[in-house]
Point group: C2
Chain length 299, copies 2
């Protein structure tokens, strides 16, 4: 699959997820309006819908039609957005801008942004549970998929990486700590989004292991590329200012190993990721293309 | 059921919930230690385990053994504790003490308290999903119960009440707004904890409606009693200072209608609540006793 066709697919699947998110989210003119507007504001602030895409592709590789995993995919995105809203709060990263727009608490206030993030987490799990109502999806598999999602985002996943991240800076972090942060903060959600979709479709055993291997490689490549872009990226393309990791003395792969070594690591991860997908043949075309896209992206 | 026997049952069921919570929560000596300790700190800070009790009683009224609903009950408590941790944050109520102990962010810092609350919400929904693994519980009912829980706590439930609450004070709130806050902030979680347990057991139709009616009456009686105790309660028994509603100019039932009228309303609600339970006979003995306890409590 070439890059243009891949981007087209990413966009069209993202649009379907957006349609469902619009149906799932409470209307902005229903009480309590401020909370509902805050939820919609951040959900529709223009994300790439990467995690939903992974859920859908995981389900597809396992034999479902991708549309049968849409509620689970929407759930993953809601939880992702919640983490952005809470991350931007003054007690965390204290960011004023996100994707070129004022952050949630800058518009709605800190207390509302806090509640908004909570509401998005909860609605995310509710959406995952609602996937059981799709024809051809077994209730027991929807439950298993929801629990995979929790592995990716909860105390053993994303939140674990964030918790370690706030305790260390570049000057105090060891390479091992940095690796832990990378694997958990972004990587584990990426891997488990894929696994959640796959488990929804009934994928198991060595197939699930291979998909997990791909997810781990891709997630780490994604994170290191993010850190590289924070140094050499174009603020206009990125929609945010660069250099924030350095200003906050954050531990990142480039800050610890240098830019060249970081780029080489990304190339190695890409090679390993593609190899994991071989067993799935053409069913994994989109995941191959996604890995190329992640590695080559400039935004 | 007399008061002593009821309190004994409340305590012993609470102890079983605590045992499960101890198993579900990640160990405090596993990485990231701070996050895990923060989670355990607030979960084991000495709550009454009212919401888990309601889940268990809802399941019992519907014909399950109460132990078959323990994971769902633990999930409800985790979500409840998350709301306390987030409520106490400086951008919300800015409380230093909770149940006589320093609040979560006073011990672990604001950022960690924020992540801790998020982790507890997520683990709460995961525990609800895990209830499907209990023998004799259908997967489809575990999913339905999880979604009931979401109705009680999400954007249409508890969070909705909190969102309205932060926008109004006693001087700006109308009686209708006050009623909205009461029904949602505490009441809806109480009602839906009961419903979640009942739905797990397969209860439906008029039986579920009656249980919902009881829950609504009991929840509102609980909240008004809380507000009364904030005025006339004993700080030692309560384990917290009183008068915080008045200091913050919070809209409460007593502040709007006076103390006598508030007490009369509690008595009316109790009568109505007992009436809703009649159809369940002796199966509802504990719920009758709970209502008496709520109304007469001094802490």
């Amino acid at each position: 699959m070439n890059k243009d066709k891949f981007i087209e697919q990413l966009k069209s699947m993202g649009a379907e997820v957006d349609d469902l998110l619009d149906k799932i989210l409470p209307p902005g003119d229903a009480r309590p309006e401020e909370l509902h507007r805050a939820m919609r504001y951040s959900v529709f602030a223009g994300g790439k819908r990467l995690r939903p895409f992974l859920v859908l592709q995981g389900a597809f590789v396992g034999g479902l039609h991708y549309r049968q995993a849409l509620p689970l995919a929407a759930g993953a995105e809601l939880i992702h957005v919640s983490s952005l809203v809470h991350d931007d709060l003054p007690c965390m990263d204290d960011d004023d801008l996100r994707r070129g727009k004022p952050t949630n608490h800058k518009v709605f206030g800190e207390a509302m942004a806090l509640l908004c993030g909570d509401a998005l987490i909860m609605l995310g799990f509710d959406a995952a549970a609602a996937n059981a109502e799709i024809e051809g999806v077994k209730a027991i598999r929807a439950l298993a998929a929801l629990r995979e999602l929790h592995c990716g985002v909860g105390y053993a996943g994303m939140l674990s990486g964030q918790a370690i991240d706030i305790s260390f800076t570049a000057s105090t972090a060891t390479p091992e700590t940095l690796d832990y942060i990378h694997r958990h903060k972004t990587g584990s959600f990426i891997t488990y989004a894929l696994r959640a979709g796959a488990v929804l479709s009934g994928l198991a055993g060595e197939d699930l292991d291979a998909l997990t291997g791909y997810g781990n490689d891709m997630g780490l490549a994604f994170q290191i590329t993010d850190d590289i872009l924070d140094i050499v990226g174009d603020p206009v393309l990125l929609g945010k200012s660069i250099g924030s990791d350095q200003r906050q003395d954050k531990a990142t792969y480039p800050s610890l190993y240098g830019l060249d070594q970081a780029k080489r690591r990304v190339a190695d991860l890409a090679e390993s990721g593609h190899a994991h997908l071989e067993r799935f043949g053409t069913q994994a075309d989109s995941l191959h293309a996604l890995l190329d896209y992640i590695v080559e992206r400039d935004r």
